[in-house]
Symmetry: C2
């Protein structure tokens, strides 16, 4: 069932008809898998709660969720500013409604001294990138700003205050903002101007008369959703245009696989000595970053049988398990597949003071997904910038980001595959996919080179690790982790 | 690949062989879908962290996860005591390792005045029921208690204190417990005795010599897991014995569908007047429970087309969306299916001060799952007690639990199905399954009667709602919610 045939001019629809139409559009979004995100912001007592109730009344409750954004709690404060919003973005076919949002920080800072999430410029940049990433992934974003006149606001605040059940809802800040109504309005206008992106325009709604306001909001929702549904039905999904070369990041200082000397090695005795020493240092540093509340993200990528597992075990062997976590990344499950590809990685971001080690990572997007065709060319080409932006977010929060590529040559890989085949206790590690991937060595090599060139940044540099000799590789990764933490301290 | 053929006496295995065997058993558990939970508790400086690292070294990191239990954070304090543990129980084939656990509260209370989670008796009861429920669902539980001598503990605490990187780890409490070593030991012995269930026995391990201790822990893990794997391979899963009638709860005061007068109705005018009044009351009460931090759980069950959706909408229409959430329950997804059936409901428990409305619920276990054969007879017969225990947990935390069964008769259902068929804007609400379910009316009716009889408790009573007249039903549910909250206040 399409919606094309029954397009009636929106202006002619009554309130009840608009409600029915919104319900039908929600079901159509569900069928097509369109994720929708509605942000409801506005002045105090502008009627955000009432408006949300009026939107949700005609909806099927199975597919929407209202999230209320208060000040961040303990756990949220220990993560980058956007973490709690990333975790709540809608999956395919779902509708997420935010009562307040990431704009809370940008607005409250106008009346407070401290800014959640760092400087205004950083937060603005992060927010713009966040919305662009969601839109490029096909999420439809609505941003409503509810506006109430000073006179009406006064009336509503007084009414809330006069009822003992609701008086606590009128905060001192709300009163202060009311006193400085026109001054505050200027900051709001400024903020709106700065975040009015073409694909996520603000819709400003006057709410002195709630009935008219609801009608306006419903109309806007129906009109915009209709357009999106039509585009999807015709196959025009957003984010499908391939970015031009100049829109894709590139680093001149990035290391290259070609420059590696894979003959580097370390003898057993020297290795044993260094290992104990480095593991002890790593443990002391683990305690130190815990005390200073610095989060550490370590990414392991590399060829099959390059020794990622063994390498990670040597890194963590002497660490306190309370301080680190290893997140192994395999193909996404049903729930992960229905979300933005970065969603699961954001969710696993370490608490400040902890270490998260990703055994494979978001770089799958520009490697296996690219080579195997699991995503479109536009998707993986866009990913370089998106990944850099995510890592920059981590960096803004004070995180240390360390990225390893474990390099071996095809002969060494073959030798290890054969050894696995012949060892009954290691045979399970090898499967048909490993052999298939091996046949695509040149394509993967090209993808790796481009990945390193495009995502080697000041805040999250790549370290290529010569891994034909596992001992050399293990000490080199330990050394790199230690040096990265010491640099930060 | 079974493990049967290669059973070698555990005592003859070297440390390296035990590690290999543990790795193999983990993979076998993965294949069979056995969930494993390891609790590591012990005295301060008894070596919990070291022991966990030594267990995890031979494991495949993709299938285990270490969780460290500190004092509960803001968000966790706003939920029942067991909430944060329920959320972290292992899925099928996964291994969850807890560094400290639900025993933290039971142990710390020995040296503190305040008890997390209520009185000791309540917590002990809740913990025992929790472990039994997990075991009945096939989760293998290990509980290790690491014991260190007073002399060795002193040495280790001093060593930690002397290193500036680790001195902060020695808390004042740890020192106090060290001073009262023998006194504290008595409380520990008592606690262990009280929670030493046949299927979740404590394993006490002396850790003055860490090497021997690791060997003992590995041996115990390998031995026990082998037994479980053998049982599973032979088809003997735990929890498969059907509970006897006397082990199943039953209430004499439970209402019955037969006593309902479905002719009850309410005229439009009276309804309109009452609705506005009740909705206003509900909103005031919503604010009041928020202020007093009381969580409210509302369950909606009922026949297809009984009017659950419309009823919920009337209840929430005037509520502040910041204070409530509607959780629609449909068939479990991939991730939910791999967990204990109560896992997703525990996860959705409201924050203190908030209302969660479940549109269908955990009662699916004893209705659709029973009637359609989606679970075994043992599973649904066990569920009555499990559900009562879960709701009692909510009650211990101070929650209000309201449960509705919306009753209509078969004629009224048919009338509504036909009306949906003929209304293009409502046709989507009706599907083949609704017709199929209708054919099983008598089986469902029997299941409903038994459900109400077995789960009608003081702390979570059922309200049967005559719903042939939707107006009557809507006012009755509003009245019941209002009365339940007022009673608590």
């Amino acid at each position: 069932m399409g919606v094309k045939e029954k397009v009636v001019s929106i202006d002619k629809l009554s309130f009840d008809e608009l409600e029915l139409e919104l319900g039908a559009l929600q079901r159509r979004c569900r069928e097509l898998g369109i994720p929708v995100l509605v942000v409801m912001e506005g002045l105090s007592a502008a009627g955000k709660g009432t408006m949300i109730n009026s939107i949700t009344l005609p909806l099927d409750p199975r597919w929407f969720k209202v999230t209320c954004i208060a000040a961040p709690n303990d756990d949220e404060r220990m993560r980058p500013f956007l973490w709690r919003f990333w975790r709540r973005i809608p999956a395919a076919g779902r509708l997420a409604i935010f009562d307040r949002s990431w704009y809370r920080a940008l607005l409250d800072y106008q009346v407070q001294d401290e800014m959640e999430g760092g400087s205004v410029e950083k937060v603005l940049g992060d927010v713009r990138a966040f919305e662009r990433q969601l839109i490029d992934a096909g999420i439809v974003i609505f941003k409503f700003w509810l506006q109430v006149s000073k006179k009406e606001q006064k009336k509503r605040l007084e009414k809330l205050q006069s009822n003992p059940a609701t008086s606590w809802r009128v905060s001192q800040e709300a009163i202060e903002r009311h006193w400085k109504y026109y001054e505050y309005q200027k900051s709001v206008d400024h903020m709106i101007k700065q975040t009015d992106c073409p694909d996520a325009l603000w819709k400003i709604v006057q709410t002195d008369t709630m009935g008219d306001a609801s009608l306006e909001v419903l109309r806007h929702l129906v009109e915009t959703l209709r357009d999106h549904v039509l585009l999807w039905e015709e196959g025009h999904k957003p984010g499908s245009s391939v970015p031009a070369e100049k829109e894709m990041p590139s680093s001149k200082d990035a290391p290259s696989l070609r420059d590696l000397d894979l003959s580097q090695s370390l003898d057993k005795k020297e290795y044993a000595k260094l290992l104990v020493k480095r593991q002890r240092q790593a443990r002391d540093l683990e305690h130190e970053i815990y005390r200073r509340r610095i989060p550490v993200v370590i990414v392991y990528e590399g060829w099959d049988a390059a020794g990622k597992g063994g390498n990670i075990r040597r890194l963590t062997q002497n660490l306190d398990p309370r301080g680190y976590e290893v997140i192994p990344i395999s193909a996404p499950n049903e729930v992960e597949k229905s979300h933005h590809y970065l969603w699961r990685f954001w969710s696993d971001f370490p608490k400040a003071g902890h270490i998260t080690i990703f055994d494979r990572s978001w770089y799958g997007r520009v490697m296996v997904e690219r080579v195997e065709g699991f995503c479109s060319e536009a998707d993986w080409k866009r990913a370089y910038r998106e990944i850099n932006e995510m890592e920059e977010n981590f960096h803004h929060f004070g995180a240390i980001v360390v990225k390893f590529w474990l390099q071996i040559d095809p002969h060494e890989q073959l030798r290890r595959f054969r050894a696995r085949e012949n060892n009954p206790t290691k045979r399970w590690k090898l499967n048909d996919e490993d052999w298939r991937n091996r046949e695509k060595w040149p394509q993967y090599e090209e993808a790796v080179e481009e990945m390193v060139r495009r995502t080697h940044t000041d805040w999250a540099p790549w370290t290529l690790v010569e891994s034909n000799c596992k001992r050399h590789a293990r000490i080199k990764t330990l050394d790199t982790v230690i040096a990265s933490i010491e640099k930060k301290l």
